[in-house]
């Protein structure tokens, strides 16, 4: 028993494995009364051993397994004199990296093979470059029958994989990735969105580990791991450490039947890894293999018989019961295998240059693999998807301390964090004192002692802060210290990739431009930037970049406030406020956009060009909108081409509404031309002129519009009228109208200069166009069955232009109001058209008002109700003072003194007495069993 105890390497196996026996029927021999193995010794018993050793021991029944594990370990896994040494790891573990480096020194390998995507091999030198700073990742997209996805292979400073790459580079030996790039993962497609695939999903989810957590009083697999390996492993001999990881992972693997491992794709991956290991053995004398501990068994046990039974000895010892399979499923519904890879179902654009990997027909299309930055935040968040360890920043600090030779790194890191937490909280004006820090430090040590850990880890640190920093009841409001601690433990670092040939030009371009705009790409978190694009050229550049980034869907920046050029909202604002945050997601999106071009601007241009392909050639309104967007993004060369296209589209465009849209966008561009950097003002003016002329030409055809397009048409008429009025006023040609719009956009802040620039160029062509406008309007009015709304608008414009007499409006109105009942119902539509353009008609023209009043007097009740909504809408054009004036006029028509208008319609007392009377009568009726004659029923 002693031998077994010592060999079990401080793992609190006992009760967990016994539980397995009971529940899954693996070890039938396990009997009662084996309880003495659990935490049998008191803490004072074994002073020479580290505290983590205390809970060790093995139950009867796992002896056979442990013997096989031991045998395998000595012979095949960690034979330092053999041709291959396997070093089992957990991804992102400082302790594994620590012992891995020692293994390098002891074994002195000729090559190191790493569990990582095979096609990432060309990138190894980039990763090994001293200028590359973690966290970084390898990134590639793929496409298979389930759609598109993307994989990340994140590397932190303390990831054993990365430590191996760097150590290999330092020793001048090759380092190679040996895993499959891609593994089919049906669940990922079903779940949609971002899916993770980290090695530990199966490891952490196994029933074995679950019981282990309970028996060791650990709240999670991560705590269990930290206790047994991260903290406990530091004081151990490397061989023992590796043996522990191997045993742990292998026993955990036993909880799964081989079928499940096959379905998850683990077996296929292990077969490939074995192949590549064998290949390396042919040319290298000493091969060091670094893979997740979960796979080590598959690699060494599978060797013997060609992978037939590499499901693990779960099969060999008959553990493949339905019960255990069901249990594994139940415990871990979302688990899947992987190699430190994070998967993402990205909506990647079709890649122009896919490389086919493998060759089988079912194989996915793989896209090129790139080195890419990564962030602590993402590496930690990953944990939410069951992969990697949490508290990335904290463990990174542990690793730094370990490398510097610190013997108690956890103590030290905890202390540093407590000091920093106190400082940060005081900065946030939380009432935190040094005494709280001292108390927390004491608690941390006390908890570590209570939990038999030689140093306080992440869980003791968070517990200590919970107890000593949170004052009063724990509520969301009081939880700030804990939240801040977790933030600090995550860290905000963003990595850097050394300059390299694989670098994607668009990413480099983006970084260079962002640096020029002084955007912070070095730390995570939402950064805020306020821009004044009108005032500062540098800000204009930044605004253009951010607009590009937004358009390219990089998830980089968000406009919090500022003018919205497309939706035409908040156009009076001169400042823009953006929040942004750089991450590997942004880089991934940029890489996906790289098929559009080598720079951000090129990509945006190509993407707009693609969008424009969907816009019909003759659709000038859409084209003008894209022109505006291109200008906002600062895409000048595209803008030049768009001008050409717009010009030809204008000539072909037959749609009044589209033309009006073009005119409006052109006005907008003109009034903001300094900001948008449009130098060729003449062209702008010419185009606007053309749009105006073309729109005017289409006026007679307006009646063909659908009813729901009519309000838009009225708006178009208004715009044209504004331009025409500008001409006939003689002040300027198009400028005054454009500037009118511009001034409205800017709330009158700027851009008055253009008036001066265009002043005095009163056009003789302008007058002609003006005349044309009147003629066309006249034609429109002559159309039979013209929609009343358009008739109203057109008539109002002509009156305002002085073409027709003012009474034309009331004359036409009378035709409706005194017409057949059908016509009467259209009068509200007509009035809406009139009021949209010339609401003063009602103020000046008493006849119109009198007619309207007369109409309302004689209109039957039901028709009135039908007319009312539209009529109300028509009167919304008026301001409240105007409404009062109209009311006064109406009162005058009926000889009612204006003072009566202020009075309530009926005296309250009179109403009350009437009500009372009514009730009394009803009661009397009821008494006599008489039904009062009311028409309530019909209603």
């Amino acid at each position: 028993m002693d031998r077994l105890k010592a060999s079990a390497f401080g793992l609190p196996f006992c009760s967990a494995a016994r539980g397995e026996a009971g529940e899954a029927g693996i070890h039938g021999a396990a009997g009662e009364g084996s309880a003495e193995f659990v935490a049998a010794e008191g803490t004072a018993d074994a002073p020479r051993r580290s505290p983590e050793d205390e809970e060790l021991g093995l139950p009867p029944g796992t002896e056979a397994e442990m013997q096989e594990i031991d045998g395998l370990f000595a012979a095949k896994v960690f034979d330092l004199n053999g041709p291959v040494v396997h070093f089992p790891i957990r991804h992102h573990s400082p302790a594994c990296s620590h012992h891995l480096l020692r293994t390098f020194a002891a074994y002195n390998p000729d090559i190191v093979l790493i569990e990582g995507p095979e096609s990432g091999n060309p990138l190894v030198p980039v990763l090994a470059d001293p200028a590359t700073k973690a966290p970084v990742s390898l990134y590639y997209g793929y496409e298979d029958e389930h759609g598109r996805g993307a994989c990340y292979f994140p590397l932190l400073d303390y990831s054993p994989e990365y430590a191996a790459i760097r150590e290999a580079a330092a020793r001048g030996i090759p380092a190679r990735f040996i895993d499959l790039d891609y593994r089919g993962r049906p669940e990922a497609a079903e779940e949609g969105g971002k899916a993770s695939a980290q090695d530990e999903a199966l490891l952490a989810g196994s029933a074995f580990i679950g019981r282990l957590c309970r028996s060791s009083r650990s709240r999670s697999f991560d705590e269990l791991w930290e206790r047994a390996f991260e903290i406990g492993g530091l004081s151990r001999d490397t061989r023992e450490f590796a043996r522990g990881v191997f045993a742990y992972c292998t026993l955990s693997r036993m909880a799964y039947p081989p079928e499940r491992l096959r379905l998850e794709g683990d077996l296929a991956r292990e077969a490939r890894m074995r192949e590549l290991i064998a290949e390396a053995r042919e040319s290298f004398g000493r091969v060091l293999v670094v893979t997740g501990g979960f796979h080590t068994y598959g690699l060494v046990a599978g060797e013997k018989d060609g992978g037939e039974r590499d499901g693990g000895f779960a099969a060999a010892i008959g553990a493949d019961s339905a019960a255990s399979a069901a249990k594994a499923e139940a415990n871990d519904p979302g688990s899947r295998p992987g190699t430190g890879l994070r998967e993402e179902a990205a909506d990647a654009p079709p890649d122009g240059r896919p490389t086919r990997y493998g060759g089988g027909s079912g194989e996915p299309l793989l896209k090129p693999i790139y080195p890419m930055v990564y962030t602590f935040e993402e590496a930690d968040r990953l944990n939410g998807y069951a992969s990697g360890m949490p508290h990335v920043g904290y463990y990174d600090r542990i690793w730094q301390l370990l490398k510097s030779g610190e013997t108690k790194p956890y103590d030290r890191a905890g202390l540093e964090l407590l000091a920093r937490l106190g400082r940060e909280l005081r900065r946030e004006a939380e009432g935190v004192s040094t005494a709280d820090g001292i108390e927390a430090y004491g608690l941390m040590q006390g908890l570590a002692a209570l939990r038999s850990k030689s140093q306080p880890g992440a869980y003791e640190l968070t517990d200590a802060v919970t107890s000593s920093f949170v004052k009063g009841e724990r509520t969301i409001a009081a939880d700030r210290p804990l939240g801040k601690l977790l933030e600090l433990m995550t860290g905000d670092r963003i990595g850097e990739v050394a300059p390299n040939e694989f670098a994607v030009p668009i990413v480099e371009d983006f970084k260079a431009r962002a640096a020029a705009c002084r955007l912070n790409l070095k730390s995570t978190g939402r950064h805020r930037k306020a821009l004044e694009p009108y005032a500062k050229p540098a800000h204009r550049e930044a605004s253009r970049l951010l607009h590009c980034a937004e358009f390219l869907g990089t998830e980089f920046a968000n406009k919090e406030a500022g003018p919205d050029w497309v939706a035409r909202r908040d156009m009076n604002l001169v400042r823009e406020t953006w929040t942004y945050s750089y991450s590997s997601r942004t880089e991934a999106r940029l890489i996906e956009n790289s098929i559009y071009g080598g720079t951000v601007a090129q990509a945006a241009e190509a993407k707009i060009a693609e969008e424009l392909n969907r816009v019909p050639e003759h659709h000038s309104g859409e084209t003008a909108l894209w022109l505006l967007r291109a200008l906002v993004m600062g895409l000048e060369s595209l803008a030049g081409r768009l001008f050409d296209r717009l010009e030809s589209a204008l000539r072909r465009d037959g749609s009044f509404l589209s033309l009006c849209g073009t005119l409006e966008q052109l006005d907008r561009i003109r009034s903001h031309r300094r900001l948008l950097g449009v130098s060729d003002e003449r062209r702008l003016r010419r185009l606007a002129e053309e749009a105006y002329a073309a729109a005017v030409l289409r006026l007679p055809g307006l009646n063909g519009l659908k009813p729901d397009e009519q309000p838009q048409a009225v708006e178009g008429l208004k715009l044209l009228h504004m331009h025409a009025a500008g001409r006939s006023g003689g002040a300027d040609d198009l400028d005054s109208a454009a500037d009118l719009g511009g001034a409205a956009d800017l709330g009158g802040t700027d851009v008055r200069g253009s008036t001066a620039a265009g002043g005095g160029r009163a056009g003789h062509g302008g007058a002609a166009a003006d005349e044309n406008f009147r003629d066309r309007l006249g034609e429109l009015l002559a159309v039979r069955d013209l929609a009343p709304r358009l008739e109203g608008a057109a008539a109002a414009i002509l009156v305002r232009l002085g073409q027709t007499a003012p009474d034309d409006i009331s004359r036409r109105a009378r035709a409706y109001m005194l017409g057949t009942p059908d016509q009467v119902l259209k009068s509200a539509d007509y009035l809406q058209g009139v009021f949209a353009l010339a609401r003063d008609a009602l103020m000046q023209d008493d006849i119109l008002l009198a007619d309207l009043s007369g109409l309302l007097e004689r209109l039957p009740h039901e028709d009135f109700l039908r007319l009312l909504p539209e009529l109300r809408l028509a009167f919304t054009f008026f301001t409240p003072p105007e409404t009062s004036r109209i009311a006064a006029k109406v009162a005058g028509l009926h000889g009612i003194p204006p003072s009566r208008l202020e009075r309530p319609a009926a005296d309250e007392a009179a109403r009350l007495s009437a009500l009372k009377l009514d009730r009394a009568i009803r009661e009397e009726f009821a008494l006599w069993k008489l039904e009062p004659e009311t028409n309530t029923k019909e209603e």
């Binding site: 009760s15 309880a35 003495e36 659990v38 935490a39 049998a40 008191g42 803490t43 004072a44 018993d45 028996s215 009083r217 709240r219 009432g431 004192s433 005494a435 709280d436 108390e439 004491g442 608690l443 006390g446 908890l447 002692a449 209570l450 939990r451 038999s452 517990d463 200590a464 919970t466 107890s467 000593s468 949170v470 004052k471 009063g472 009841e473 724990r474």
Partner: protein, 368 residues
Amino acid sequence: MSIDMIKPPAEVLHERELTALRAEDRGKRPPNWKLSPAAVRDFLIGREKPAELDGEYIPITRKFYGNDVLIERAVVTLAGNRGLMLVGEPGTAKTMLSELLAAAISGTSTNTIQGTAGTTEDTIKYSWNYAMLLDKGPSEEALVPSPLYQGMKKGILTRFEEITRCPSEAQDSLISIMSDKVMNIPELGDGVLFAKPGFNVIGTANIRDKGVNEMSSALKRRFNFETIRPIENVKMEAKIIESQASNLLSHGGIDASVDPDVVELLATTFIELRTGRTREGYKIEVPQAVMSTAEAVSVYVQSAMTSYYYEEGGLSLERLVQNMLGTVAKENAKDLGALQAYFSKVVKERARTEPLWDAYYKEKKWIG
């Protein structure tokens, strides 16, 4: 076990477990602690392996259900410089936890200040036997020590129950004692009482209850806070009700076995009315009255007793519903509506498929 006490203190109730743990415990102990922190934890949350005492195996049972990590933090806090303040809603077993901790650590849970609105500085520190004071003048014999005084003198834990019910002035007399661990007694010539190692204070406080006083920040700083949350797991709640009710009934000399199905029914009702969510996921109205686990225990015990004395039989659902009425309708008559609604929606629905719930539903007549 003696039956002379209505409710024996924790150290009496669990005497054998404590003795056995003490006998086997070889862990490092803070000065004057009767058990090592690890053994204290095991005493509170139980463990698989029984303790051995005189050749007999004594099972170490779980006494506190809920957050185990919280227990570890509480134990370590008590070994340190600050006091432990247990806060939370009424009926979340704060007092029980404080008793168990004191019994395990100091061997006594009765060294307790029972805080009320009438608590003064004298009751917290010390007062005088006035006959002796007049006779002999200020002397140690004439001094009447408070539990806090006793705790400091003997190096044991002092429990301070319902600290927020005391006036703020009285609460504040703790501040300097907690930080300096010294009590000045100016009436005695060189009267200074230094706290012996092992002394600390466990406070319990309701923060959101009616009629409580806010604690000063200075006092808060001298305590580590642990918030105890109500249980939201039916099985766990049922287990607590079962174990506590059977304990109370056997102490009351009532020979009635506890029916686990009825207990689960009761636990379900209480949890659902407390959280406002049914197990099917529907939202329901929450009564203002405190629907704590402690109340559930009292409803059960009361019902069992009524059935035992008046019906000479097992607990009937009729009695259960009658007693529940008293608990729910404590604060506000409107609360009765919440219970009525619960019966006519949730219970009625379940009555269709589950016979026990059907029997339960038949007793709706008592609610009206």
